[in-house]
Amino acid sequence: MSTRTVRTAAGFLILILLAAVLFCLSLTTGTGRISASEAIRILMQGRTDSPSARIIFDIRMPRTLSAMLLGGALAVAGFLLQSFFRNPIAGPFVLGISSGAKLCVALVMIAAMQQGMLLHSGILVAAAFAGALLCMLAVLLFAGKVRQMAQLIISGVMIGYICSALTDLAVTFADDANIVNLHNWSRGSFSGTGWTDVRDMAVIIAAAMAGAVLISKPIAAYQLGEEYARSMGVRILPFRIGLILLSSLLAACVTAFAGPVSFVGIAVPHLVRSLFRTARPLIIIPAAFLGGSVFCMGCDLLARMLFAPQELSVSTVTAVFGAPVVLWVMLRRERGRS
């Protein structure tokens, strides 16, 4: 048992250290050069009116925090979906849930822009949640009875395509000055996040995370399959509904604030399981959150740095690092089967 405890402690330590390093790097990296020592001085002083302080406090800090929170949320959403479908390749992006949320948010945004209204982030999250749930229901209808990994993923990807096409259509016809903004968002980005957004997402994500930790016990039982879970006293229907609501809420929150971000939901839980060598949800849920934070902060950093001053969409970077992990998962499964 003790090696297990050591591994768990070491795993968390590594993730926390990485998160801290990336957080600092993220504050000091960018078009306006701010050295590490200067950044520390600014942080100690608190908010002042100097340009560097404003860059750190008003632009980089909220952006980094949102990458941290949303990345964590996305990874946990992925883990919950994988638990629901008992399928390691399930995730909000491949199941089309992110795209559904994106479609709903885009429609609401376009409608609001035409009215010249500014939208409260709560409304965007609600729209994203509705879109996510609708897509989830569609996936369940198509693949609910199917236990095969391939069919589930194919129906999810198809639904994702339909939603993306509809979003593109809506964006094309929304002839507006804000279209550029919308277009950026629909490709996935953490930029342009303000402090109120950070506060709102923190509240939602904290609530959903508390919920996820509370159902970690039935998730563990459900890993053995529905029959065993029921025989141990899990009430399957409320549990499954809880899983869907929580994962949709987390995925919706990410989409509402940052647009669709791909592959984090699959890659991070898998990497974390490999690092901790366990499937225990009580460890994996917080670890996936940290892992998602690290992954997204890192990818956001790369998105900003690689072709600076040109910024990549964060989804491009997460795909480059996330998609190979998905392939690795599939190979592992094939090997496990034979």
Partner: protein
């Protein structure tokens, strides 16, 4: 028999979505007893087990767990009294065997499912009982089917049930593991007073390890009783609708039907010596007759099944004249005779006479 009944069904009908698959199921299992469900594939054994395990709603009839109607019990209470070992496939990534077995503590742990020292001790003990202790830290997906079965049995034991339900628990196991598993079930029944209900395909093992056997065929409970009551005569062949061959309930062996056609070889056997020759004749597809075999002879059950015609003698008696005459008559119609017996005593003296006759006729062979 004053031990408390732990699991009882009365006129239970089980099935999916109002479609009855098994009907009229009545049994009572007491503490320390093993009840085994046998019957052909698709007879409804799994459906019955699932219904009794509260996995499926019963269509009609009653199920009582520890004296209370199953549908009146809360999920948690059922979980503390009944655990299962079913055939579900588990695919969770990175699930360790210890964690899989520890899941059995679910009904006893708190909100977050943290294991106490006592819980850990119970899980470890269960893993030791099933011989899976050294697998604890291995990944569940990466061990063999037989090892998985041990881990999942440990899980079921760690749940500390009063009733244990197992659906074909021996299916993927080799013979030594089959025996180990069933011996462990007997031990659990005796030491912990657990009532065990399981389905088995291995009839010989069902016969040896069960207190009661429930026979299911085409969705009906055909018979229930002790193994001695069930494994007798041709009942098992009837239950399974065996058409090509027969099941010998005494030895627990299945024998195929004899090759078609008139007997071409006559085998003089006795004392178990004829069995290898008769098996070779069967494999070669040659119909044969045999005699004169005492009804209590070792050769009897195999030859009775494989031979086209068998001439027998009553137990403990010298071979009577009419049997000798019938054998001589049959022998002359066969193109060759094989005698597998070397020694002749007072009871099989007439078989020596048969051999002498065959030798004189020039039909005696040593091999087929």
């Amino acid at each position: 028999m004053d031990r408390p009944p732990l699991l009882e069904t009365k006129d239970l009908a089980a099935g999916y979505r109002k479609k009855v698959i098994a009907d009229g199921i009545c049994f009572t299992v007491r503490a320390g007893e093993i009840l085994t469900l046998i019957g052909p594939n698709g007879a409804g054994k799994s459906t019955i087990l699932k219904t009794v395990a509260a996995q499926l709603e019963s269509i009609s009839g009653e199920v009582a767990l520890c004296g209370k109607p199953l549908d009146s019990l809360h999920e948690k209470d059922i979980a503390k009294q009944l655990s299962i070992l079913f055939t579900a496939r588990i695919t969770a990534e990175r699930l360790t065997c210890f964690d899989a077995a520890a899941a059995g503590r679910y009904p006893y742990t708190g909100m977050l499912g943290l294991l106490s020292e006592k819980d850990r001790a119970i899980v470890t003990e269960a893993l030791e009982m099933t011989g899976a202790a050294e697998l604890a830290e291995q990944e569940f997906r990466e061990i063999s089917d037989g090892q998985r079965q041990s881990v999942m049995l440990a899980r079921a034991i760690a749940q500390e049930p009063r009733v244990l339900l197992l659906d074909e628990p021996t299916s993927y196991l080799d013979i030594s593991r089959k025996l180990e598993l069933l011996t462990l079930l007997r031990r659990l029944a005796k030491e912990r007073g657990i009532a065990v209900v399981m389905s088995l395909h291995e009839l010989d093992l069902a016969q040896k390890f069960s207190d009661q056997v429930l026979c299911i065929s085409s969705g009906r409970a055909q018979r229930i009783g002790t193994p001695e009551e069930i494994f007798r005569g041709d009942y098992i062949s009837e239950l399974y609708g065996i058409r090509s061959g027969r099941y010998d309930p005494l030895y627990g062996t299945a024998e195929p039907a004899p090759p078609a056609g008139d007997p071409q070889v006559f085998v003089i056997g006795g004392g178990g010596t004829a069995i290898p020759v008769c098996r070779r004749l069967f494999r070669a597809g040659i119909p044969f007759a045999a005699g004169v075999i005492h009804e209590n002879d070792l050769d009897y059950p195999v030859l009775a099944a494989l031979s086209t015609k068998l001439i027998t003698a009553p137990p403990f008696e010298p071979i009577p004249e009419d049997a000798f005459a019938a054998a001589r008559n049959c022998m002359t119609q066969c193109r060759s005779v094989i005698c597998t017996v070397q020694t002749f005593g007072t009871l099989n003296r007439q078989n020596e006479a048969l051999r002498t006759l065959a030798e004189a006729a020039g039909t005696l062979r040593t091999e087929i």
